[in-house]
C-alpha cells in the first residue's frame, strides 16, 4: 500500500516542492533574506532529490501517475513517462543553478519576495507542463506558465520592461487561445486527450482529415508562440529587457522549452509522427523550423545588444528541436530531443555570462565588450564554451544534437536539412566569433560603463559559479555523450519507445 501511495503522490510532491516555497515566499517580508534563500534553495534541492527518485523509479519499472477529475471525462493527469522525465530533470537541475544565480543577481534589489515567489511558480508550471499526462493538463500548466512569467518580465517596472511584458502577453495569450481552441476541438472529435506514445488521434478519429489539419495548425501555433517559431517569435527579443536570471529562465529552463516540448508532445503523443506524416503536416513544420533557424541567425547577426543577439540565437536554436521532431525517423528525433537539454544548458550559460557582464561592468552592448576577457576571464571562458556549443563545434553539446539532426535528416531522405544546418552553423559562427574576438583579443577601454568591485574575484561567487557549472556541463554533455544516463542515452531510450511499437 505504502509503495502504491508514493507512486501516486510523487508527481504531486515534485510540483509542490516549488509551489509551496513559492507561496510562502510571497508572504515573507523583504528583509528576511536568509529565510527566503533557505526556502528557495531548499525547494530546489528537494525537487532535485525527488526527481532523482522519480528517475530511479521509472528506470525500475514504477508507474507514477496522479489523477484528479477536473470535469466529467477529463482528468488532471500528472504522469512520469520517459519524455517528461527528460524535461523535468532538465528544469530541476537548471532551476537550482538559476536560483543560486538569481539570489546573487538580485542581491539588494527591491521586491525580491515577489520575484522569487513568481520564480518558483514559474518552475512549478514548467514541471506541470513536463509531467502533464494529457493535453488538458498540459494546457492548464502551459497557460499558468504564461501568467506567472509575466511578473518576472515586468519585474523591473521600467517603461521598456512593461512594453516587453505587454508584447509577451499579446503573443502568449493569443497563442494560449489558439491552443485552447485546438484542444477543445480535438476533444470534441476524439473524446480523449490522453497522451499516448505514437499518438491517440489516429486510433480515435476516423475521417475528419481537414479538421485534424486545422487542429494541428492551431495546436502548433499555440505552443509555437512559446517556442518562438517564425511568425510568432516577436516577443522573445523584446523580453530580453528582463533581468538575466529571468532571461535564463525564459530561454533555457521554462518558457521556450515548454513550447518546444509542447511541439514534441503534439507531434509524437497526440498525433503520432506517422499519422502527422500521412496528414501531410510534418514536412511543412520541418520547413518552417528550418526557415526559423536561418531567420533567427540572420537577425542575430545584426544586433549590437548582447542579450538581443542571444535572444535571436534562441529563436534559431529552439527550432532545431522542432526540426528534429518534424523529421520522420528515430535518429533525427534523438537530435531534436537531445537539443532540448543541450540548448538549455548552453543558452543558460550564455545568459548568465551576459548577466554577469551587465551586473559587474555595466556592459550591455557588444561594442562595449572590448577586452572584457581580461577583466572577467572566467565568465568569458564560460561564454566561449557556450558560444562554441551554439556553433556546433565538437566536442560541445551542440555538436551532438547537430550531428544527430544531420544524420537523421539523411536517414529520412530529407537531404535539404544538411545545408540548413551548415548555414546555421556558419551564421552562428558569424555572430558569436566576433563577440569572442572582441572579448579576448581587443584592448579594453579605459573604463567600464558601470563597474562594481568584488575584491579578488572578478564578480560575486553566486554569479560566477552557475555559468561555470553550466559551461562545464555543456562541455561534459558533449564529451561524454555516450555515457550511461547521459541525456543522449536517455533520449535514445525515449525514442525507442516512440518508434518501436
Amino acid at each position: 500500500m505504502y509503495a502504491i501511495n508514493w507512486d501516486v503522490w510523487l508527481p504531486l510532491c515534485i510540483l509542490a516542492s516549488s509551489l509551496l516555497p513559492g507561496l510562502l515566499i510571497f508572504f515573507l517580508p523583504e528583509e528576511r533574506v536568509v529565510m527566503r534563500t533557505l526556502l528557495n534553495l531548499g525547494g530546489a534541492s528537494l525537487k532535485l532529490v525527488l526527481v532523482g527518485i522519480l528517475i530511479w523509479g521509472v528506470f525500475n519499472g514504477h508507474h507514477y501517475e496522479f489523477r484528479f477529475s477536473l470535469l466529467p471525462g477529463l482528468d488532471l493527469v500528472l504522469r512520469a513517462d520517459a519524455l517528461s522525465l527528460l524535461f523535468v530533470a532538465l528544469s530541476a537541475v537548471l532551476w537550482l543553478i538559476t536560483t543560486v544565480y538569481a539570489i546573487g543577481y538580485l542581491e539588494g534589489s527591491p521586491h525580491r519576495s515577489r520575484f522569487f515567489g513568481f520564480f518558483s511558480l514559474c518552475v512549478t508550471a514548467t514541471v506541470g507542463v513536463a509531467l502533464a499526462g494529457n493535453l488538458m493538463t498540459f494546457l492548464l500548466f502551459f497557460e499558468m506558465l504564461t501568467l506567472v512569467t509575466y511578473p518576472l518580465i515586468v519585474h523591473r517596472g521600467t517603461q521598456e520592461a512593461r512594453r516587453a511584458g505587454r508584447i509577451y502577453l499579446a503573443y502568449t495569450v493569443a497563442g494560449g487561445t489558439s491552443l485552447l481552441v485546438g484542444t477543445v476541438w480535438l476533444y470534441g472529435l476524439a473524446g480523449s486527450l490522453e497522451f499516448t506514445s505514437q499518438g491517440f488521434v489516429a486510433d480515435l478519429v476516423t475521417g475528419h482529415r481537414v479538421e485534424l489539419v486545422i487542429i494541428f495548425v492551431l495546436l502548433i501555433a499555440g505552443v509555437g508562440v512559446k517556442a518562438a517559431l517564425l511568425p510568432l517569435h516577436g516577443w522573445l527579443p523584446q523580453a530580453m529587457v528582463a533581468a538575466a536570471p529571468v532571461s535564463a529562465l525564459l530561454h533555457a529552463v521554462a518558457v521556450v522549452k515548454a513550447g518546444a516540448f509542447g511541439i514534441v508532445r503534439v507531434v509524437y503523443d497526440v498525433y503520432g509522427i506517422d499519422f502527422a506524416v500521412s496528414l501531410g503536416v510534418a514536412l511543412p513544420l520541418a520547413i518552417l523550423a528550418a526557415v526559423t533557424i536561418l531567420y533567427g541567425s540572420v537577425r542575430a547577426l545584426f544586433q549590437d545588444d548582447l542579450k538581443r543577439r542571444l535572444a535571436f540565437s534562441t529563436v534559431s536554436q529552439v527550432s532545431y528541436i522542432v526540426l528534429g521532431t518534424a523529421i520522420v525517423g528515430p535518429v533525427a528525433a534523438v537530435g531534436g530531443l537531445v537539443h532540448l537539454v543541450h540548448q538549455g544548458v548552453m543558452k543558460i550559460t550564455l545568459f548568465f555570462c551576459a548577466g554577469n557582464l551587465a551586473e559587474t561592468l555595466g556592459v550591455h552592448k557588444i561594442s562595449e565588450m572590448d577586452g572584457v576577457g581580461r577583466r572577467m576571464p572566467w565568465t568569458m571562458a564560460a561564454f566561449t564554451i557556450g558560444a562554441f556549443g551554439m556553433i556546433g563545434a565538437p566536442p560541445m553539446a551542440g555538436f551532438i544534437s547537430k550531428w544527430y539532426l544531420g544524420l537523421g535528416a539523411l536517414e529520412a531522405g530529407q537531404g535539404w536539412v544538411v545545408p540548413v544546418l551548415v548555414g546555421s552553423s556558419l551564421l552562428n559562427a558569424a555572430y558569436f566569433l566576433p563577440v569572442l574576438y572582441r572579448a579576448w583579443f581587443k584592448v579594453p577601454a579605459a573604463s567600464w560603463p558601470a563597474e562594481r568591485s568584488f575584491g579578488r574575484v572578478e564578480t560575486s561567487l553566486a554569479l560566477l559559479l552557475p555559468p561555470l557549472i553550466t559551461a562545464f556541463l555543456s562541455l561534459l554533455l558533449g564529451l561524454l555523450a555516450s555515457a550511461p544516463f547521459s541525456p543522449l542515452q536517455w533520449v535514445r531510450f525515449i525514442i525507442t519507445l516512440e518508434y518501436v511499437p
Binding site: F26, S69, L70, L71, P72, L76, H111, R114, L139, L140, F141, E143, M144, T146, L147, Y150, P151, V154, H155, R156, G157, T158, A161, R162, G165, R166, L169, V173, A174, G176, T177, L180, V181, V184, W185, Y187, G188
Partner: protein, 479 residues
Amino acid sequence: MLAQSFSWQVTVIILPLVAALLCFMLPKWGRWLGLVMAFAITGSVIVLAYQVMNQGALRYAVGGWGAPLGIDLYVDGLSLLMLMVVALVGLVVSVYSMAYFKAGKAVHFWPLWMLLWTAMNALFLSADIFNLYVTLELLGLAAVALVALAGGVDALGAAMRYLLVSLLGSLCYLLGVALLYHSFGTVDIALLAERVESTPAVWAAMALMTVGLLFKTALFPLHFWLPPAHASAPAPVSALLSALVVKASFYILLRLWLEVFSQDSTAAAQLLGVLGAAAVLWGGVQALRQTRLKMLIAYSTVSQIGYLFLVFPLASLMAWQAGLYLLLSHALAKAAMFLAAGNILCFGGHDRIADLDRVAQRLPLSLTAFALAGVSSMGLPFSGGFIGKWMLLDAALQSGQWWWVAVIIVGGLLAAAYIFNVIGHSFTRAEISHEAKPVPAIMEWSALVLALAAVLMGLFASWPLAVMDIGAPFGGGGS
C-alpha cells in the same frame, strides 16, 4: 406537497428578512447583527444544500396552500447553486462591509443589504412567475437604494436611471405575466410548462418578458445604465450588484426559456446569442478604453454578461451547464474585483488606472485578488472561468456553430488586454511616495478569499456540475 413542520427554504427567506428588520430597528447594533445573521443565513443555506443533495429537488408549499393559489418554494440544483453563491459572496461582502462602512452609512447599508438578500433568496426559490415579479421588484428597489447610498450627483443620477430601468423592465415582465396567466390560467412555472402552446399571447409575453429581463440584466445594447450605477456605488454594493443582482434577472430568463419558452424559438435564441456576442465585444472594447478602475470592472461585467447569452443558441445540456458555470465563477470573480478596487480606492483615494503604481504595490493582497479574479475573467487556468469557457467552446464546436467560438476567443483576448492593462501599471517603479490611508487587513483578505474561490472553481468543477443536475433543470432544454 404536504407542509412540513419546518422548512429550510422558508428559513433562508425569513432569516434575512428578520435581519433587515432588526438592523433597521437597532441601527446601533446593525453591523454586528448583520454579520451574525449573514453567518446564520449561510449556515441555513448549507443545511438546505445538504438536504437537497440527499433528497433531490424539493418543492414546499407555504402554508400548505399549494399551486395555483398558494406560494410554492421550489429548489433544484440550479436554484441551490444560485443560493449558495449568493450566500458565499454575501457572507464575504458582509465581513468586508464590517470594516468598510463607518457609522453613518452602515445604518442604511445593513437593512438594505439584508433586504436585498431576502429578495434574492426568495427569487431563487420562487416557483411561479408572479412571485418572481414581486421578488424582482423588491430586489430592484433595494439595489437602487444601495446605489444611492454613496450620495453625490453621480451616484444619485445613476441610481435614478437604474430605478427607471428596473421599473420599466419589471412592468414589461408583469405585462407578460398577465398575458400568460390569461392564456393558461396559472403562474406556476411547472404547470405553465405543461400547458404552454404557441399562441400570439405567448409570443407577445415572451418578447415582453425577455426584453424586460434583458434590460435588467444589462445586455448590450441595454447596458448603458449599468456602468455608471456599478461604478458609482460603494465597493461592497458594486460587488453585490455586479456579482449577484444582474444574475437574478438572468436566472429568471433562464428558467423561463428552459421551461416555458423552450419550444423551438431558434431565431429569437440566435438573436439573444448575437446580442450576447455584441455585448462581449462592445463591453470588452469599452473596458479597454476606461481610465477609471471601477468603470473598467463595470464594463467587464457588461462583457461577461454577454457570454451567458451565448448559451441560448447552443441550447445543449453542456451549453447550459457552461453558462451557469460562467455565471457562478463570474459572480465570485467580479465580487473579488470590486472589493479589491474598493481597497485600492480606499487606500489611495482614487482609482485612476494610470496612477495605480503608487498604490497597487503597497496592497499586494488586493492586487493578487484582482489578478486572480482577472485570470478567471479571461478564462485562463486555473479558474472557474476557464472551465466555463472550455465547456462553452466544446458546446459551440459540437453544435457546429463555430462563429461563437470566434466571439469567445476575441472576448477572452479583450479581457486579457484590459486586465493586464491594470496589472501592468502596478509593476511600474513608483518614485513618488504617496499619502495613503491604511486598509484593514480584513478587507484585503475578503477580496482574496473570493478570488481564491473563483480559482478553486477551476479545480473542483465536478462537484458544482453534479449539483447542477439535481432535479434536472436543464433536462428540458437538453439535446
